[in-house]
Point group: C2
Chain length 722, copies 2
Amino acid sequence: MKLNKLWSVAVALLLAFPAMAQQTKQFTLDELMWGGSSYWQLQPKNLYANFWGDRLVELDVEEVKALTDEKGKKVKQPQVLFTLDEVNAALDTAKWGKCYSLMTQSFPSGKETQCVLTTPEARFLYDWKTKKVVWTQAQPKGTQALKAASATRHLAYVKDWNLFVQRADGKTLQVSTDGTRELQYGLSVHRDEFGIHEGLFWSPKGNLLAFYRMDQTMVSDFPLVDIDHRVAQLAPEKYPMAGMASHKVTVGIYNPATEQTVYLQAGDPTDRYFTNIAWSPDERTVYMIELPRTQDKAELVAYDAATGQRKAVLYTETNARYVEPMNPIRFLPWDDTKFLYQTRRDGYNHLYLFDTTGRELKQLTQGQFEVLEVLGFNTKTKSVIVQSNEASPIRYNHYSVSVETGKRTLLDNGRGVHYAKLSESGAFLLDRWSAPDTYRRVDLVATVKPSQLQLHTMENPYTGNGVPPVESGTLKAADGRTDLYYRLVKPANFDPAKKYPAVVYVYGGPHAHNVDESWNYLSRPWETYMAQLGYVIFVLDNRGSENRGFEFESVTHRHLGDNEMADQMEGVKYLRSLPFVDADRLGVHGWSFGGFMTTNLMCSYPETFKVGVAGGPVIDWKYYEVMYGERYMDTPEENPEGYASSSLLPKAKNLKGRLQIIVGYNDPTCVLQHSLAFLRACEDADTQPDYFVYPGQGHNMMGKDMVHLHERITRYFEDFLK
Amino acid sequence: MKLNKLWSVAVALLLAFPAMAQQTKQFTLDELMWGGSSYWQLQPKNLYANFWGDRLVELDVEEVKALTDEKGKKVKQPQVLFTLDEVNAALDTAKWGKCYSLMTQSFPSGKETQCVLTTPEARFLYDWKTKKVVWTQAQPKGTQALKAASATRHLAYVKDWNLFVQRADGKTLQVSTDGTRELQYGLSVHRDEFGIHEGLFWSPKGNLLAFYRMDQTMVSDFPLVDIDHRVAQLAPEKYPMAGMASHKVTVGIYNPATEQTVYLQAGDPTDRYFTNIAWSPDERTVYMIELPRTQDKAELVAYDAATGQRKAVLYTETNARYVEPMNPIRFLPWDDTKFLYQTRRDGYNHLYLFDTTGRELKQLTQGQFEVLEVLGFNTKTKSVIVQSNEASPIRYNHYSVSVETGKRTLLDNGRGVHYAKLSESGAFLLDRWSAPDTYRRVDLVATVKPSQLQLHTMENPYTGNGVPPVESGTLKAADGRTDLYYRLVKPANFDPAKKYPAVVYVYGGPHAHNVDESWNYLSRPWETYMAQLGYVIFVLDNRGSENRGFEFESVTHRHLGDNEMADQMEGVKYLRSLPFVDADRLGVHGWSFGGFMTTNLMCSYPETFKVGVAGGPVIDWKYYEVMYGERYMDTPEENPEGYASSSLLPKAKNLKGRLQIIVGYNDPTCVLQHSLAFLRACEDADTQPDYFVYPGQGHNMMGKDMVHLHERITRYFEDFLK
């Protein structure tokens, strides 16, 4: 175990002023939790901004002000570009209604003084130089999805599961007519796996629309029930469980000019995944990354957009465990014959340069770190701007990578966790970041000669108060060699001579992490609350979690839970070694995969954990869906031992401590069958879990139920761990 | 308050031997609860017997023995009539399979040496004198209902919601073909209200079959979910909620000889109840008691069984609150022109003699007590044998009532609670009874010159052990004048100097009572368990409960909960006056209507009750069904104030103490909507109830879940009331 050196100083400073901490108010859950009525009162003022070309403008309801000039220099006296009143004066409000806010604008180009705005009835382009509305377009209502082609202004939308296109000339074309809940057009498919989150893809020049069509008539319905009627109503969810019949997806190309659709000739869609749709800049070719249901192969395939004909397989990757393409290819803006492909084939997520013949030109990035996001390009310097964790597995920083030399240049301060947006030319980043000692900051970052212009600082609202000390460090995993990052939150007004109860907060599944170098090492507000009540909170990102490379993640393949728990027990060993932790009062809490982990830990280590709260838990992977479930577990037929040994149903009999399971009654992700089957198993085995449901809520609680939920979780530990 | 004098002596005796009590083992829930694996081990040997004519025979798997002779005298050496081996030797077991037990036999007549027995494939008549099988009849399988006409041996049954008759000649006739879950033939209707519990009614001579047909296509489905499949399945329940569209019932008469059906011409069945079907002895007339949906009127109507023609309305009764006929008419065995009608029109349930023209001849019983059951007749003495609570509201005794003079003669010992079966001629009763000091006894009672022959005594298995003292007495209701009966269970090894926590167990609704003069005043086994853990248990039958007459029950009309709670609070007042009760540690527990009461008390008197456990609660009567709901509450449209003020949803915000709601996940009686809507209301009001469900269970737990449930209930009080 080694503490992160840099921030241990900050922690030491915090520890040095216990007197200061004692002066303070106790935070309520209503203040701490998103969804609480006083949450926003506690938050310091934020800066909302957007790029107009390479210039930054501040977003506001009433007016739009320029913050920087095109060279990235701060405007001395922020200049008002236009106001809401001016916009409404120019608009035919009798016909289109009023524009109510300038917060949701976008600037098509830095070369024009134009801005796209909306009313409840329409979207329109306003020119603040001429003070005129350039065009107005009616907005369809009651849509399930909507996407505009900015170049042509065609609008694609989905209504009652059918696809429509409202052409720029105002004519509405119904593309499909047989859409139903079971046969959907233009919506996301494959349960949002493989990076998919939408079903409408306009071509770069806005002339063609690629869209998903998903036939799920063969998929069994899970009977969700909506109690928000006097007589509860069935609200079925098409839910293919691991090994069972799955939906069939096809991809269509619609041409609003000819009013014709062609489908990509990908062959029989049974048990196949069509992912990561991309267009060639000339709109002639559509690319997909295709996987068989086994997910052990990914093929980049090119199709003729006009005919739907399959043209070529450009690249194939196989992996005995799984391949998981998450990013569509991206063409270089300065060369239509070359694109970037992302894969973890060397163990980490990196960029590779290909040409359109499928020739691999080179590996652009390399090393034991992950490229987390491609933000775009700087065409002038021919570089790609990426976010990666090169500096440390728990840091997110931005780099410019020269496509020619592969040279990487750090753009930001190299510490903390940065999320950014790239300007039109790629010259600037709007960088929002935090670090263990920095609550939140907004900078303008130049991508050519890196510099950071500080625009806004959000002061830490948690100062001077019963704020708990937060530390981070690493432990060795159960394999004895892999470093794992942890966060340790000590009780407010910490007294090292005392013995405190401790709660392990856990997620532990893929595609997530709980410890990074953002403010307080990503500590969740509830941890502050618990620390104020006198708990130690411990969080460890075990093997299987994200951003640490393929081997780290996929070691869990076919036996989810085993290595994850072994690592968490290393964390517990460390926790128990701390003189201020009462080893007889250990609790555990987690949601979703963390609910699986919590229930598993409670039943596998009944002598270790006295109290657990498991939210929306997976109980048996055979109840989980096809895409995620089979990636990590294969099918129940292929991996019967893995399914049997990872199931928590046979472990129900081991339960000794107090375990409360909490679920959203309408959870479509981790269906109620999990928790109910576990209750049934406990009832049969004569063990006594506790249970709670939130009617109307899904997999995660929304709104003020978040406050209620955390009162509930806290009360359970207060009842049984104190 | 006055103690029941007789039993206070017994209680005093128990109290006098605390040393004895201390020697003892603690009972486990597994021993105490029906469904526990060791329940039967604790129970002393019972006597199973049946009448063969006027003789009693003992039932056993292997052999049948005569216990008494036809004069009611004990047979000195019980004589074996026949054995299982003899039966199987006589049976064509190759064709019909073996008979496995002689426990489920019946004797058609005391004049024959014949007995009806079954194999899994057939029913058959065995003659133990000739040692021959007289007839054998195949038994249809997979039936939803089955009823034999003993005189003709026709078998009526329901399969896949259609009605079939298997004639004595072996021919199977399909009576209906359009039966579905939504259109049912031959099953119980009106959700088992009005004393209805079946849908097949053979005429006395077995030539005609009256049957119910229920069309519920217009009734909304409540979406119950069965998780006993890998993908949970919808298991919808037709559930008409108060004020909503209800099902339509008609009554058919099927003639197996002509193979024809006629329907009773009762008119439009919309919003009507057809109840209490009875046959005239000559099979020519069918009688029903008909009610409009308002339930404020009952009409006894006669129909021609051959044509279905409506012949006459023989009797009409109205009541501004409600009329609730629960018993079909019964003809006098010695006079086909006269029948008994039961009604509470004078305030108590009594017998009236009518003739078939509808002339009311006389009121046969009278007084401030209830006729609880008509067991049958003694034709020789022209008397009717009834069970009533004439001796005390909490005693059940048997009386013979002379039809001519109305004179009532007590048949049993006049104390305790007696349940009996009448012999063929009506000369004897097989009387199973208990009393506060008598665990259980079986007597043969002569109905002519009353005498009791003691056949069997089940010794109290709870002796000499940490058995709690149980007392009973009366309190005044909140109206200041009505006597209410209570039971008080003191902790085992009671120490009057100590302060104990107390739990009120409550039902409080109609058609039930919790206190009577059976063993330990009807104390439930769980009360013994709780008393062993050091709790006082208090149970009070408030106004609205059964057996106390119409005014007592119906005072709750249109505002369920109000008077019931007021009475329970009188009980609490008394409880608090007891020096050994800790007034700061009061709990409450109840199921169904008692779950409604528990939740109501917790939310209406949050300062009184610290902990509550509510099982399968009604939360809002608008979610309850039409027949029961509208009887007591009218419709939501007719009684909006009553529905609003009795709803617990607005009271969710008052919850302060710990309340756990427990439900069967597949409860078809008090659907999940109740508890889920309450949780939602609590979540919105930021109060924190607890919740638990038993998947696969209905309104009441079955089997070993009863043990699990009571561990759970107990644990909750142990967690928060101790």
